[in-house]
């Protein structure tokens, strides 16, 4: 019998199979350009997942995640261009920089909640945005830093380079998948349940003995990690870093992606990000006001499906599963003598 679990599993398997075959499938069906669009979608999905971890699981709406994305990006760019690091050390520098700044700003930010939290995260990212713009010798300001790829990097015996499109694609796929897998594990762990408890009722959470401040800080640093990884990947992907990616508009886009896709669900950020980036790529060449579509869709989803597209789908699936159960009971009753 077909159950909701089987449907969800089949969709997941089909999705994974699709992602693995993209480098061959897409050039055959469309063209090579879309392979890099899909790679970009994966990176931005990870960035939206960072917003989702904070908002969907801990109840903190951050409008400043671009700050940690930017640190991941600059860590890589400065590591390669200025310090002459090879691939892994530069990657590591980007992530460490993002996590470190998340820890420092988090200590201040997670004392606040709701709109105060949203405002302080926004202010932090604006401060560092203006720093990045004004410190031209280090960051290149608005022009950013262009760098040439570290020639090769090795992982055990395997040697690869981002100059190979397929290698670049699979490296991004593997890294993003690993991060989503970790997030999946966290949300199902005792720590993840504690996050949700704090999201639901922080006073009660403190009364049952949860250290609300500490747990929010842990979530904030984890979110900084996810944003940092996505920023570092994006730097390698685009071969440059720029202060413009630290602007609050970038943070805001991730908030929209996460909410439209479904905050508090693992795949929500992927669905939201895919939808909007595909629309952007399809429409922007023909019509410059493509963000209008984004706005209208965001409003519609927030009104009609407050749990986002994935939340809507999950509810439908659950209701369908319940109906299936009822039907089974009725059938068995009818066959009774």
């Amino acid at each position: 019998m077909i159950t909701p679990t089987i449907i969800s599993r089949s969709i997941l398997i089909a999705f994974v199979a699709f992602l693995i075959t993209v480098p061959w499938l897409i050039p055959a069906l469309l063209n090579k350009f879309w392979v890099s669009v899909i790679a970009e979608i994966m990176i931005w999905s990870l960035f939206a997942a960072s917003v989702n971890l904070l908002f969907g699981y801990v109840g903190l709406l951050s409008f400043g995640q671009a700050l940690y994305f930017g640190f991941g990006m600059y860590g890589v760019a400065i590591g390669v261009a200025t310090l002459g690091l090879s691939f892994w050390p530069a990657f590591g520098l980007g992530i460490v920089a993002a996590v470190a700044i998340a820890l420092i700003s988090g200590i201040f930010a997670v004392r606040l909640t709701w709109h105060y939290f949203a405002i302080i995260t926004l202010v932090f990212s604006l401060i560092f945005y203006f720093f990045a713009v004004s410190m031209k010798p280090l960051t290149g300001g608005d022009d950013g830093i262009n760098f040439s790829l570290p020639p090769t990097f090795s992982f055990g015996d395997a040697v690869g380079s981002f100059s190979s499109a397929n290698f670049q694609y699979f490296f991004i796929l593997a890294t993003v998948s690993l991060c989503f897998f970790l997030m999946h594990r966290v949300t199902r762990s005792p720590l993840g349940k504690a996050f949700v408890a704090i999201r639901d009722n922080d006073v009660r959470a403190a009364l049952i003995g949860l250290n609300v401040f500490q747990l929010r800080l842990i979530a904030f640093v984890m979110a900084g990690f996810l944003a940092g990884v996505s920023g570092a990947l994006f730097a390698f992907f685009g071969r440059y870093a720029s202060a413009s990616y630290m602007f609050y508009q970038v943070s805001g886009e991730a908030v929209v992606w996460a909410i439209v896709g479904g905050a508090g669900t693992l795949f929500g950020p992927i669905v939201g990000t895919s939808l909007f980036i595909v629309i952007r790529e399809l429409v922007s060449t023909h019509w410059e006001h493509h963000s209008l579509i984004v706005g209208v869709m965001a409003i519609l989803v927030v009104i009609l499906a407050p749990k986002g597209l994935v939340g809507l789908w999950n509810d439908r699936l659950a209701r369908w599963g319940e109906r299936g159960k009822d039907a089974a009971i009725r059938t068995s009753l009818r066959t009774d003598p």
Binding site: L191, L207, V212
Partner: protein
């Protein structure tokens, strides 16, 4: 003499010009069920908020089995074994009933594992099952707590207090909003609880108070008006006055007498 379970010295809390709790010195020995009663605004809930750390006191000290807990954070006080329920029922609405109990028990552990699946835990689910049966919510275990009736939420709160194995339990109007049948079940549960743990209860339903309390403290305007066993309290003239008003409020007395 052994240290009382809960003792306060000149505990004071002011909200602007209003002194909600006014140099309250209270000593509640262990092993007895204490009820705190008093008219609205007497400072009962504020007293609970001070003990559980939700509010910081403006003056005075709180001791739990002789250990000073003044100024500790709510989660630190909770981990010492002081658990409480809220007057306005407070659970995790989007978690299921079972998950509410589960996280309450798990929160007592200092380390929340970040990657292990929750289903790998053996001991906690067993305790969750037992507690569900004790509070009679087994049939509703998978329902989100936010969809429960008010009485069931109150029972769930008691269950959450139970599963955390407190040393001192503060119940703030536990039967408020319950049906008579639910009240009966909750009262039986509280009586049974009080045999093994120290319970302090704030309650407005006098029939409940006089049925279960060993000692009663009457609060009024942030201070103690009277304390004693139920018999002494019911005969106390000051208490009658605080509840029914002064003799000159003739109409009020008439109303209550004829009600």
């Amino acid at each position: 003499m052994t240290e009382p379970a809960l003792r306060t010295e000149n505990l004071t809390k002011r909200f602007g010009g209003l002194t909600a709790v006014d140099s309250l010195s209270l000593s509640l020995p262990g092993g007895r069920l204490h009820a705190i009663i008093g008219p609205n605004g007497a400072g009962k809930t504020t007293f609970f908020n001070l003990v559980s750390g939700l509010l910081a006191a403006d003056g005075g000290r709180v001791f739990f089995h002789g250990r000073e807990i003044t100024g500790l954070k709510p989660h630190e006080i909770s981990r010492l074994g002081i658990k409480r329920t809220m007057q306005i029922k407070s659970v995790f609405p989007q978690l299921s009933v079972a998950e509410n109990l589960w996280i309450t028990r798990e929160a007592a552990h200092r380390f929340l594992h970040p990657f292990r699946a929750t289903s790998r835990d053996q001991d906690t689910p067993e305790r969750v099952g037992q507690t569900l049966e004790q509070i009679g919510l087994t049939a509703l275990a998978q329902r989100p707590a936010g969809t429960l009736s008010y009485g069931d939420v109150a029972l769930l709160e008691i269950g959450m207090a139970l599963i955390s194995e407190p040393r001192l339990l503060l119940l703030d109007e536990p039967t408020c909003g319950m049906s008579p049948a639910e009240t009966e079940r909750a009262v039986a549960k509280i009586k049974q609880l009080a045999r093994t743990i120290d319970v302090v209860i704030i309650e407005h339903d006098m029939s409940v108070v006089f049925e279960i309390a060993d000692d009663i403290t009457v609060m009024a305007q942030g201070g103690i008006l009277a304390s004693g066993n139920p018999k002494e309290i019911s005969g106390n003239e000051l208490v009658r006055e605080a509840y029914l008003g002064r003799p000159e409020d003739e109409d009020y007395i008439d109303e209550t007498v004829h009600a």
